[in-house]
Each structure stands twice: as C-alpha cells, then as structure tokens.
C-alpha cells in the first residue's frame, strides 16, 4: 500500500493536471496544425505513467478523457472522447509498467545496452516475420487466423508493412538524433501499447459510435467497410494502423522529453531511479 500512496505524492498530484492539460491541448491544437493521422493525445498519460507509476498513469488517462469529454465546454471539449477513457487508462497503466521495467531510461553511450537492443529489434523482426508467414501466406490462412475477410488481405499486408517501416524509421531517427540506444526499448514499448490500445478501443468505437468518431481516421474505417469488413473488423484494422504509429511516436517524444529533463527534477518522482541514466551519476 505504501507503493500505491507514494505514486500519489504531492508532486505527482501537481503533475497530473498539467499532464491532463498537455493531453487535451496537444490532442486538439497541435494536431490541428499538423493535420496528420495521429492523435498525440496520450503524451501526458504516458509521461505520468513512466515517471510516477501505473496507477498514476491510469488515472491520468481516465481523467483526461472524462474531463475533455464532459467537463470542458466547446470549442475545446470533445463530444466523442469520453467513452474511450478505458483505453486511455490502459495506456497509462502500461506506461507505468514499461517505466518500472526501465524501458524509458536513457542509455546514451551505454555500450552494454547495445546487445540487448539488437536482440529486441531481432525479436520484433522475428515476430513480424512469423505473423506475416502465418497470417498473410494465403487468403484462407488470413481468414482463419485473423477473422478478417480474405478479400482485404492485400490492403492489410500494406498496412502491416507500413507499421514495420515506421517502427524502423523512428528507431533510425532516434539513434541519429540522440545516439541513445534506449530509444529502441521506448519505441518498442510504444508499439506494444499501440497494439493493445487498438484492440481495446475497437469494440468501443464500433458499439458506441458505429465506427465513426469524427476524426480523420473515419475515412479509413469507411474504406475498410467498403471493402467488405464488418464494423468491428473495420474499426480494429483502423486502430491497428493508427494506434501503433501514434503510440510509437508518442513514446519517442516522451523518451526524448525525459532525456532532456534535468536529473534533479526526475530523481524526485516515484520512478526516478529507474529513469536516471547510470552513466551520468
């Protein structure tokens, strides 16, 4: 119980509303300015999860959605974000787990981390190859293993590859910009979070909103359905494309931010020791 109450120390209580505001503002303003098919509305949630712990992350996510959906007036308030509070909670919870596992620690100049990172990339690659071989070998395999309509196999192949490409590209960019091997783990964590988020949000989008939530991704859902997908399949596919990309990018940004915050500042948070890189102590 002490671990639980430490996760809600005064410092975390101060951070949470700021993180909630970051979620809402980035989700609305910056996204509007850049017009890309990502949400960017979980940066605060993942940040709190990583520095403070799973339950703080969970609450930040849930409260962000509830406040954004039900306590803020238009034009900031969103009418479709409330029911996804569960998804946001899961994202925060996972971020807390990754944080405790030290996946967001800066590993700049840590030679000893390189083998581990290489193994991680190989693992992801192997998993991808396996999935591709099992599910995309032929239309019947596709239907049997994923439950999606065999007619959509080509489309799905492309999106699968897109995700992989983004994964590799992000890691390449991170390594180029910061030479920090830790980025591999953070982005990998983002990929995992994105997949889980997609799976949890698909039924909500389908049942509550009929697959239409008012963001640019609706067109994608419509396209899938025009191709013959059922409602849940279409929302799941759209999610499996957008969410991993969004969460990988978000995790990358959070990793970058934590790497740039002062050690003094980070050390005071519940997860502080797991985030301070050993090479600079």
């Amino acid at each position: 119980m002490d671990w639980l109450s430490r996760q809600f120390s005064t410092r975390v209580i101060v951070l949470m509303p700021i993180a909630i505001a970051i979620n809402i503002v980035l989700g609305a303003t910056v996204q509007q300015a850049l017009k890309l098919p990502i949400y960017l509305d979980s940066i605060g949630t993942i940040l709190v999860g990583v520095v403070a712990g799973p339950f703080a992350g969970l609450l930040t996510g849930v409260l962000s959605n509830l406040i954004w959906g039900y306590l803020l007036p238009a034009p900031i308030g969103s009418t479709t974000i409330g029911p996804f509070a569960i998804v946001a909670g899961v994202i925060g919870l996972l971020a807390g787990v990754w944080g405790r596992l030290g996946l967001f620690r800066s590993r700049r100049g840590e030679r000893s981390s390189i083998p581990g990172a290489v193994v991680a990339v190989i693992l992801v690659g192997a998993l991808a190859v396996y999935t591709y071989a099992r599910a995309y070998a032929s239309p019947t395999d596709f239907q049997n293993n994923t439950g999606f309509d065999p007619g959509t196999i080509d489309q799905s192949r492309i999106f699968f590859l897109v995700i992989l490409v983004v994964f590799v590209a992000l890691i390449a960019v991170a390594l180029f910009l910061r030479r920090d091997v830790g980025a591999v783990y953070a982005i990998g964590a983002g990929l995992a979070t994105g997949i889980v988020a997609a799976i949890v949000s698909a039924p909500i989008a389908a049942v509550v909103f009929g697959g239409v939530t008012g963001s640019g991704t609706d067109l994608l859902v419509a396209a899938f359905r025009a191709g013959g997908d059922s409602l849940v399949s279409a929302t799941l596919k759209q999610g499996l494309l957008s969410d991993p990309m969004d969460k990988m990018i978000t995790s990358f940004v959070v990793f970058f931010i934590i790497g740039n915050l002062s050690q003094r500042f980070i050390a005071r948070f519940p997860n502080g020791e797991r985030l301070v890189s050993t090479s600079s102590m």
Binding site: A21, I24, L40
Partner: protein
C-alpha cells in the same frame, strides 16, 4: 474589511462563498443529478434498441426544460450534428451484408437496414451525450467537486480535476503562441506529410517543457500550505440535500444494477 455575514449567526464563511445553487433542477444535490445522468446513459444502451434512447431523450429534454438550460443544450446539440450525420451516412451507405440495398454506385450500397442501424446508433449516442450534457449544464463544477470531496473523494482528486480545468485554457494559449513562433521560424504545416511530421517534436516538446517547469514550484507551494495533511479537510459549504433525494438516489442505484441484470437475463433485450 467588509465581509457580509448574516447577523446573529455563528461565524461562518461570507455569503459569496456559501452561495447555494437555486432554481428548479439546478438546486438538486450534484450527486442526484449525476446519478440521474448515469442511469439515463445506461438506459440508452441497455433498454431495448429504440425504447431506451427515445425514453431517455424525452427525459433529458424535460429536465433541460425544467432547469432552463435548453438554449445551451441546443448549442451542444448543434455541435454534435456533424458526427451524427457522418454516423448515419457512413452506416447507411456502407453496411456490409445488407440484403435490402436499393442501388449500387461503386463501393457505395445504400440500404434501409444500414440507415436504420446508423439511426439507432445515433439516437443512443445522442441520448447518452445529452444526458451528461444536462448534468454538466445544471451543475457548477465547483459544487460538484465540493460535494464529491465531502462524500469521500479526497482533496487530491478535487485538486487534480479542478486544477486540470483551470490549466487547459492557459496551456491552449501557450500552445498557440508556440505554433506561431515555430511557424515564423519556418515550421511547415502545409507541405508534404513528411515535412509536417518533422514538426511534431518542435511543437510538442516546448508545450510539454513549458508546462513542466511549474511542477517544482507548485509542489513546494502546496506543501508549504500543508496540502499533504492526512485526512479530510474542513468543509466550507454543504450543498443542500434532502431525504426525498436520498431515497431517489438509492432507487437510482438499484436501477443501475437492475438494468444490467435485466439485459443479461433477457427482458430488456426483447423490447423494440
């Protein structure tokens, strides 16, 4: 030095602090209004396919009229029109497996069952959203938070929610400034997607860093005001409640459970 206080009463907070909400429906205890909204939302989803949403919509409109918040509710309805239209149209034109398609135009296959499906989803969504909207419009956030805190939520939850609501507008302004500043430094927001993607970090990072600089100062200021004292803090004002309301709330709580049981066991699912 002038703090208005009713004469002859024990020293209490001044009137402007004590203000209780007044007006039909508005003066109900926040917990009551919240529970009503919760029951309405659940009913919209669990009671039949059309019965629930239609009943709830009628209830919502009635309570909005009583509370006098119809104009503001109309604004909220207007905001949801685009979503509603999209849901109906997309489901109408792209409902796979429909047998009553009337014409095929390329991938579009408008069908009656598709439109009905879309309409049904829309009604449910509207009923649920407007139920919550009425609760929001009929309750001052401060009142709701005070009441929740008094019932056991604790000062930390109240602070987080209250502070978040206050921080959002400030952060919006700061984000807008950052977007402008970065644009004037050459940030591309109109070009090809990879150029726009390069804008993610230059926009997100300053917003986040700027917001985080306050954390230490605010933490110390809160601690210096004894924020982390264990236990509940002094209640400044108790929002009016009444026995009838309490009874109604118990009934509503029972209804919440009963609806779930009714849906699983069958009777509610049989309704039209």
């Amino acid at each position: 030095m002038t703090t208005d206080r009713p004469t002859g009463s024990p020293p209490g907070p001044p009137d402007f602090v004590l203000q209780a909400p007044s007006g039909a429906y508005l003066s109900l205890n926040p917990a009551t209004k919240l529970l009503v909204a919760a029951v309405e939302v659940e009913a919209a989803f669990l009671v039949g396919t059309w019965t629930g949403p239609i009943l709830v919509l009628l209830l919502v409109l009635a309570s909005a009229a009583i509370a006098g918040v119809m104009p503001r509710l109309a604004v909220i309805v207007a905001v949801t029109v685009p979503i509603v239209a999209s849901i109906v149209l997309i489901n109408g034109f792209l409902y796979p497996g429909a047998v009553d398609v009337f014409v095929r135009i390329g991938p579009l296959a408008p069908s009656v069952s598709g439109f009905l499906f879309g309409l049904q989803i829309t009604l449910r969504l509207l009923a649920a959203s407007l139920a919550l909207a009425v609760a929001y419009l009929a309750t001052r956030t401060d009142d709701l938070l005070s009441d929740l805190e008094r019932r056991g939520f604790g000062r930390r939850a109240t602070y987080v929610i209250g502070s978040a609501i206050e921080t959002v507008p400030r952060t919006v302004d700061r984000a807008a400034e950052i977007v402008d500043a970065q644009r004037s430094r050459g940030l591309d927001t109109e070009g090809r997607w990879w150029r726009r993607a390069r804008g993610i970090v230059p926009l997100a990072a300053p917003v986040v860093f700027g917001a985080l600089t306050e954390v230490e100062e605010r933490t110390m200021a809160l601690e210096a005001r004894a924020f982390s004292t264990p236990g509940p803090r002094t209640v400044l004002r108790v929002l009016p409640d009444s026995t009838p309301q309490r009874l109604v709330r118990y009934a509503l709580l029972l209804a919440l459970v009963a609806m779930i049981v009714g849906r699983i066991a069958g009777p509610l699912g049989v309704l039209p």
